[in-house]
């Protein structure tokens, strides 16, 4: 049985049923999907896994949905009403689970879930649950919070969803670019959740990233949403994901970029990223994803050339002009140090004054290394006191002990 079969099919079945029943009945759709897996768990261990597990699941889901409609006359009438008012000629209770319908429903679900009216945190939670089929515990683990918190968040989000719209509609062509921005932001944040997650579950962390990539790829497969900005985001994700095997050691500690074994980098993913970046360059005005993808691309080149850091510096310059962020400012300053030397970078760094940010001090610490080791260590100690996680504290500690005579 393929890994993640249930998780994958959960999102597909839910999406198709939601298209049928409408967003305000999303609870019913999810229940039927869950019951389908319950049935599988009740039979497969004893009767053996079916030759075509997916088909089995779809037949089961379909039957359960039909049963539900048969048993709940009021519900069925409500649905029929909806169809009538939407001028559908026949009641499509066929529950079509073909490839096209699934992809289509999932896309529509994505736009529904990533709705500007829903708080971003909730969008991600909802996406993980409905689009990716993650369990509440898994989501709580990823967000480093409790299942109760997640349940509350999802409950409120579902309420908002129901209030927002009836049927699962694809946004009108004129609206797509706008709505796409919200979707992309959520997918980007979803990816970052996995990439920067402090959760101990390494498999979970990677899965989050892979899910974000899968959903982004769904957008590319549909001509209406296959826009350069989406290619840029996917390129960015590919480049970052290519370094997964090298990012952590056996104990789960973070291995910094300079120390990574680049033979572990996934060249195939890098190549895919380059392909997508190329497609993304169809668009003249670069979005922040274009710029970040460019920066990520240069990081796939391990060699320490002047050209590499020059390019990264310019990309950060452009990124900051487009949209300021402390992370970009700090990374830009690091790139500056590789192009113009530490002294110049220190001057610019001290102008940033990000005194509540631990990474500000780790940067200063590294820049002062070799120039004024005492100051460097002072800065690193300041960083350690501001550090937000145990992993970060340990990493800074390792930096400190690398100084002579410490």
């Amino acid at each position: 049985m393929i890994p993640h079969l249930f998780r994958t099919e959960y999102s597909r079945i839910t999406a198709v049923l939601c298209s049928l029943f409408g967003l305000d009945n999303i609870g019913v759709a999810e229940d039927i999907a869950s019951e389908t897996f319950l049935s599988a768990m009740e039979t497969w261990p004893y009767k053996g896994i079916p030759a075509n597990p997916t088909a089995w699941l779809y037949v089961a889901a379909r039957n359960k949905a039909l049963n539900y409609l048969a048993r709940n006359q009021t519900f069925r009438t409500k649905i029929e009403e909806k169809f009538r008012s939407a001028n559908h000629e026949e009641l499509a209770f066929e529950i079509d689970l073909t490839d096209n319908t699934i992809a289509d429903s999932q896309l529509r679900m994505m736009f529904a879930v990533c709705h500007p009216a829903i708080p971003v945190e909730s969008q991600i939670g909802l996406a993980l649950r409905i689009l990716c089929g993650f369990g509440i515990d898994e989501i709580a683990n990823a967000f480093l919070t409790s299942p109760e918190t997640i349940n509350k968040r999802l409950y409120r989000a579902r309420e908002k969803l129901r209030a927002c719209s009836g049927r699962l509609e694809f946004p009108a062509p004129a609206e797509i670019r706008n709505r796409l921005d919200t979707v992309l932001t959520t997918l980007y944040l979803l990816f970052n959740e996995g990439y920067y997650s402090e959760s101990d579950d390494a498999v979970l962390r990677e899965d989050l990233c892979l899910e974000a990539m899968r959903l982004t790829y769904l957008l590319i497969e549909n001509p209406q949403t296959s826009q350069p900005v989406v290619h840029a985001l996917l390129a960015l994700m590919c480049f970052h994901a290519s370094r997964f095997p090298a990012r952590r050691n056996q104990e789960g500690d973070i291995i910094l970029y300079e120390d990574q074994d680049d033979s572990l980098w996934n060249q195939e993913l890098i190549a895919k990223g380059v392909e997508f970046l190329h497609l993304a360059s169809r668009e003249e005005k670069p979005s922040r994803y274009h710029l970040e993808a460019g920066i990520a691309y240069w990081h796939t080149v391990k060699a320490d050339t002047h050209e590499k850091w020059e390019n990264i510096l310019q990309l950060y310059n452009n990124l900051l002009m487009l949209e300021y962020s402390p992370v970009a400012a700090l990374n830009r300053t690091y790139a500056l140090s590789r192009v113009k030397g530490n002294k110049t970078a220190i001057e610019e760094a001290e102008k940033l004054k990000l005194v509540t940010n631990p990474y500000y001090f780790t940067l200063l610490g590294e820049l002062y290394r070799g120039i004024d080791d005492k100051k460097a260590m002072q800065h690193l100690r300041a960083a350690r006191s501001l550090a937000r996680t145990e992993n970060d504290r340990k990493a800074i500690g390792r930096r400190l002990s690398s100084f002579h005579g410490n």
């Binding site: 510096l313 310019q314 452009n318 002009m321 300021y324």
Partner: protein
């Protein structure tokens, strides 16, 4: 607002020099943006410029003496005119003799 005045770069610099100049400008603006003090900016090409005068008389070209031609501007967030002046001092435009950067406060921001 920081307003640059310099001669038309196209006429004096080689492509190589222009690229280097462009890079210096990007680095300078990048430094301001990194401090979260950059708002926006634009170059003002010398082509397609017109001057419309009294009674609708239109002449070609940017206004004024060639040394005073506006080449572009950036808008920064500064707490004082002194801070803005410090930013201006870093502009690569000033590497050229006779060029200037005028610093003006925006009345509505």
């Amino acid at each position: 607002m920081l307003i640059f005045r310099h001669q038309d770069g196209k006429k004096l610099a080689s492509p190589e020099q222009m690229q280097a100049w462009m890079k210096q400008t990007m680095d300078w603006i990048g430094g301001i943006a990194a401090q979260n003090k950059f708002v926006e900016g634009n170059g003002l090409p010398f082509d397609d410029a017109r001057v419309v005068g009294h009674k609708g008389v239109v002449t070609n070209g940017p206004f004024g003496d060639i040394k005073e031609t506006l080449g572009g501007y950036i808008i920064v967030k500064a707490d004082s005119v002194e801070e803005a002046v410090e930013f201006a001092k870093g502009s690569p435009v000033l590497l050229g003799e006779g060029n200037t950067v005028e610093v003006r406060r925006l009345s509505r921001h």
